[in-house]
Every structure is written in structure tokens, then in C-alpha cells.
């Protein structure tokens, strides 16, 4: 379903991704772990279509070339990104935002728009998933939300948008354990045979609640190790140091590691 091959990303003179390969089949959940600065978030934004990235290589969803598309076209194709730092939009209520988003992708796909009433049903169901108070819908998008509320709002949006591919960028960061459980159970409930997920995280913690099919270790812009969910546990015990030492493409650091 998602096919990524030799993906490179530079921002200005800085090379962030140095040839990333990844294949995700329908229904699979892949976790991507790695130390700070390894390129995890850049990978997510490269899939979502952030401007200012110099992107090379291939990324296709169901055979369609994502890299040729505008962000909104990718959304219509079924890409959803859960933001690490959800953006505040003062004065725009959450419900209006969500309905506009849903109808935008429906319109792009040639489907009918949902009426206000239909939407309310969809939203209600989604809100139960993330244990949200209904007055949430009337508040401005993310404005004045706590960290936990923002992340739950991302999962709520995912539930409403029903994407083909969900890319969750450090959805667990800044969450206390209760919020983490709510988010994880929301994610779990949205797993399905036709939906794939790429879950980006710094810690193993989230993966206690979301058992991924595969775990990949991203270091210096490349996947250096892949395995099943036990790899995450291993990382938790041993950290990323072993991978940092052997990460190719950064001779100086490798050299330094060898010396020590």
C-alpha cells in the first residue's frame, strides 16, 4: 500500500533523510523509533507534503505518486498526519473545522458532502473513542487546549477523516499515562484491515498499548534495523547507542565511536 524507496530529504543545505526504504501493507501498524534528530518527524512531514523540503526518491500510496501531490491532494488520497505540535486556529470552532475538512476530502473524491446532522453523528461516535466532552466541538481549534487535549483532538480528527494511511508523529509526547491510554485505545479502535498506520515515537511506552506489527529504527536518516515488536523492548533496555555507532553516512561519528 505505502511504498517508500530511497527517500531523501534536504532542508536547505542540511540532509535529513539519506535513503529511507519502507513498505507498509494494508492493515499493518509500523512503529518508527529513533533518537532525537534522526529524521522521524521529517519523514512524517515528507509524506504529508510540507513545503520547503527538497525531496528525492519514491513514495507511493496505492501506486499513486505522493511526492507529486499538494498536501490537500494527499489528504484526499487518504493520508492523515497526526501532528506532534497541533496548530491553534483561534476563532474557528472545532466542529466547523472538522466538517470542512471532511467535506473537502469528500468533494475532492467526488463524494457528496455530509450534512450538518450526519456530521454530528460521525463526530459523536468519534468523540466517544477519545473520551471527549461534547462542548469540545464548540471550542476554537486547539486554542487554549492542554497538551493532552490537543493530542486527543488529533485522534478525533483521524476517526472522523477515516484515512487510508495514518502517520502519527510523536502522538505520545507530552502525555501523562491516562491521556496516553486514551490516545492508544483510540488508535487501537481505528485499526482495520484497510487502514495502515505509521506510528512515530521516541519511547517504547506507547507501544505497550499499541502493539505494532513491525518496528524500525531510524538513525541519521536511514532505517538501520527492523524487527517485530520485541525490538522496541530491546531498544528500551539498551537505547540507541549501538545504532549510533554503526550508522553509516556519518564517518566522523562512526570513527569516533570506533575509537572509543
Amino acid at each position: 500500500m505505502l511504498h517508500v524507496e530511497n527517500l531523501t530529504v534536504s532542508i536547505g543545505d542540511k540532509r535529513i533523510l539519506r535513503g529511507l526504504d519502507l513498505d507498509v501493507r494494508p492493515g499493518e501498524v509500523h512503529a518508527i523509533m529513533g533518537p532525537n534528530g534522526s529524521g522521524k518527524s521529517t519523514f512524517a512531514h515528507a509524506l504529508a507534503g510540507r513545503e520547503g523540503y527538497d525531496v528525492g526518491g519514491t513514495a507511493t500510496l496505492d501506486g499513486a505518486d505522493l511526492l507529486e501531490m499538494e498536501p490537500e491532494e494527499r489528504a484526499a488520497a487518504g493520508v492523515f498526519m497526526g501532528f506532534q505540535y497541533p496548530v491553534e486556529i483561534p476563532g474557528v470552532n472545532n466542529m466547523y473545522f472538522l466538517r470542512t475538512a471532511l467535506n473537502s476530502v469528500r468533494q475532492a473524491r467526488g463524494e457528496d458532502e455530509v450534512s450538518a446532522r450526519e456530521f454530528l453523528e460521525v463526530a459523536k461516535r468519534a468523540m466517544q473513542l477519545v473520551d471527549m466532552n461534547p462542548d469540545f466541538l464548540q471550542r476554537s481549534v486547539n486554542a487554549g487546549f492542554s497538551g493532552g487535549e490537543k493530542k486527543r483532538n488529533e485522534i478525533l480528527q483521524m476517526a472522523v477523516m477515516e484515512p487510508r494511511l495514518a502517520v502519527l508523529d510523536e502522538t505520545d509526547s507530552g502525555l501523562d499515562i491516562d491521556a496516553l491510554k486514551v490516545v492508544a485505545s483510540g488508535v487501537h479502535a481505528l485499526r482495520g484491515p484497510e487502514r495502515s498506520m505509521v506510528v512515530i515515537t521516541h519511547y517504547q511506552r506507547l507501544l505497550e498499548y499499541i502493539t505494532p506489527d513491525f518496528v524500525h529504527v531510524l538513525v541519521d536518516g536511514r532505517i538501520v534495523e527492523s524487527g517485530d515488536s520485541s525490538l522496541a523492548l530491546h531498544l528500551d533496555d539498551h537505547g540507541y547507542a549501538q545504532f549510533l555507532a554503526v550508522a553509516p553516512g556519518d564517518e566522523q561519528r562512526s570513527l569516533a565511536a570506533t575509537r572509543s
Binding site: 507534503g49 492523515f80 496548530v87 486556529i89 475532492a108
Partner: protein, 480 residues
Amino acid sequence: MTSQSPVIEELLDGSYEYGFSTDLDTDIAPPGLNEDVVRLISAKKGEPEWLLEWRLKAFAAWQAMDEPDWAKLDIEPIDYQSISYWAAPKPKPTLDSMDDVDPEIREMFDKLGIPLHEQKMLSNVAIDAVVDSVSVTTTFKATLAEAGVIFCSFSEAVREHPDLVREHLGSVVPFRDNYFAALNSAVFSDGSFCYIPTGVRCPMELSTYFRINSQNTGQFERTLIVAEDDSYVSYLEGCTAPMRDENQLHAAVVELVAKDRATIKYSTVQNWYPGDDNGVGGIYNFVTKRGRAHTDAKISWTQVETGSAITWKYPSVILQGDRSVGEFYSVALSNKRQQADTGTKMVHIGADTSSTVISKGISAGHGRNTYRGLVKMLRSADNARNYTQCDSLLIGKECAANTIPYIEVKNPTGQVEHEASTSTVGEDQLYYCRQRGMTEEDAMAMIVNGFCREVFGELPMEFAVEAQRLLSVSLEGSVG
């Protein structure tokens, strides 16, 4: 904001949607201004002697005045002698119904999306349509007459209700008030008059669409609204103008009188031609708007200003009576080379008076937006309160916003609160919306409309929708 994407610039490049010109057979005076021209205008309109005298006094006062230069505006010198002060569509017999209105004029209003057909969209709104200087049609007169409400052109009011006009004309904005008010008083051509009798709640919203149609004619309207004790009126003023190469001067005066316990709600959507990308053309909008609120009365100004090359406008309230209330809700957008210096004056005279000011300034392109507001509490104003909130939104890096509050409190019991903020429409906001499937244009419109929500909430429903659309059109390339 560190950089502006080409896409945003493209979005801001919406060309003027209403740039067309209708060919009406116009009766126009030669350019120039002197006492004879003032007499000509008065004679053309068949005015009584007292009004001519008032005009001449105003003209004399104007001649002795200097143009104001304190606003943060770059204004090309205006040659007042090159302007024609009188233009009227050819006189026509009095119209009995909408069907008698010139089809060309009706077509023009259709293009602007203003439905003149009574039974259609605005079934609850009376429209006094002003094309250039003469009011050509007034609807819903019968319904209003039944309630005792007078709503007619200014000229008609001078003929039919001379005592009411004479009593209130210049009572809130004297002709000596300022340069442009003096000019207007000398040469005003027409406008609207509205009178709500004691205890009457006006049965419909009153609406006037002003429109500048002839080239090189300044438009100087004069609006006078008198609300007697315990009455209520909501008045809508909407403006669009065709595209022009020459700057057109527009110096209007609006006077509101709210007597004891009366409420006047005055809403404006202003979309005059802002000039092209280089600032060529466009309307100079120098307007004096002021209301006097008597005991327990309330005056509320709501304005959405998206047009004009230069806007110089400070709708104000004199809170004269005890417990009177003044409100000012404003959205001002400056795009391309537009400049706006706008705000309000709240003058507290009575005890327990209160005023609220909510100003939303949006600057895009090379636009310059200045909020200038005065809150003045006189010694007599015990326990007066003011709350002011000024928010500026910047789109791109070439624009500018200023907030200039003046606060004068002479009574120690007065309370003044002022809040100000400046924010930008960020790439991250646009990206977030686009990741959720919205086009960049829709995202921009949503963000800007969200910023203005408090003000739009004050507009009557149909007007709020129109204002949102106007704001989107002014910001985006979504033409036609």
C-alpha cells in the same frame, strides 16, 4: 514570519470583482468648487433658503481650514478644483414600483449581488438605493409608513420633513468639526434620512447601498438617523464601486441621534475600489460618523472595511446621557497598497456610561493598518467604564500594523481597560488545514474569518455572510 510563500502572494492577488462601469446618461457639473457651485447644488435640489445658508457657512469654514495630516497615511495631494461636485442620473418621473427602475441600474445591482426584488432574498429589508447622488428607488415605504417610520432620501426629507432635518442637521457633527465634514456640509448631494418615532421598534432592517458610478465625481452623502425615546432601529450600509483609474474622493457624514432609552445599531460593509497592485486608482474614504446617546440610550457601530485605497474613519459615540452605552466593532482589511487609519472615539460625559471597542485589523500585501482610538472620560462621567481590545493580523512580511490608543480620564472613578495583540497567519496554520484536505484559499479564508468572529457576530445574519464572502474575495484569487 520569516518568509512568505509564492502561494500566499498569489492568494492575496485577488483582482477586484466588482470592476465594471454602467453607462448611465449623467447630468454632470463642470469640475471646480466655489460659492456658485454650492448655490448650483442647492438650486438643483430646490432647497430652502436656510439650507443654502448653512451650506455657504460650511463652505466659508472649509476654506479657512487645512487638510488634516496627523493620520499615518500617505495621501497624494487632492486637487479640490478638479472634482465635479454634482452628478445625477437624468431626472425620471417618480417611480411607482420596482418595475419602473432603469433596467441598467437594476442590472448593475444584480452584478453586485444586491437583490432589489422585494420578494426575494431581502424580503425583510428596505433598500434606499443611491446611484451617484440621487436616490432612485425606495422600497417598503408603505410598511414603514404604517409604523410611522420615515426612511427616505435626504433631499426628500428636506422637502417633506424640513423641521426634523433642520432641528438635527449638524447637531452631532457641526460643519466646523473637521475639514472633510465641512466640505461635505457645503456640497453634500444626497443621502438617507431616517426617523423612528417614540416607542417604535422599526419593523425591518433598513439598508442603503451606496454606489459611486460616474468618473471623477466625489460622492458626498449625508445620513441622518433620529431615534426618538424608547425606539429601536438597525441600519445597514453597504458599498461597492466600479473600477477607476482616477482617485475618487468620498467624504461622507453620518449623524445619529439616540434619544432616551433608544437603540441605534449601524452596520457598514465597505468595499470600494482599493486601487491596483501599485496603488493606482481607488477611493479615498474620508468619513465622519458620530452618534449622540442620551440617557439610557445605546449606539452600536459595526464596520467591515475591505475596500478603498485610503480609509480615514472614526465612528464615534458621545455618551451624553447617564447610563448610555457605546459600542464599536470593526474589521479593517488593508491589502496591496491600501492604507487604513481607523478606529473610534468614545466620549463619556454622563455617569455610569460604558463603552466597548473591539477592533480587528488585517494587513496583507503592502497594506498599512492603523487603529487610532480615543477614550475620553470627562469630569462629569462618574463610574464610566471602557473596554478596548485591538487585535492585528499580519499576512506576509511587507505589511504593517499600528495601534495608537489615546486615553484621557478626568474622573478618578473611571475604569479603562485596553488589550492589544498582534499575530500572523502562519505557514504552519495553512499547512495544518491543507493536511486536513482544505485548499490553501479555503484555509486562509477560514483562519481570517476566525480572527474576525467576534465582530461578524455583531452583524445581522445576511450581512455577516456577505461580509465573510467579501473578506474571502478581498484576500483570495477566487474571482467569479
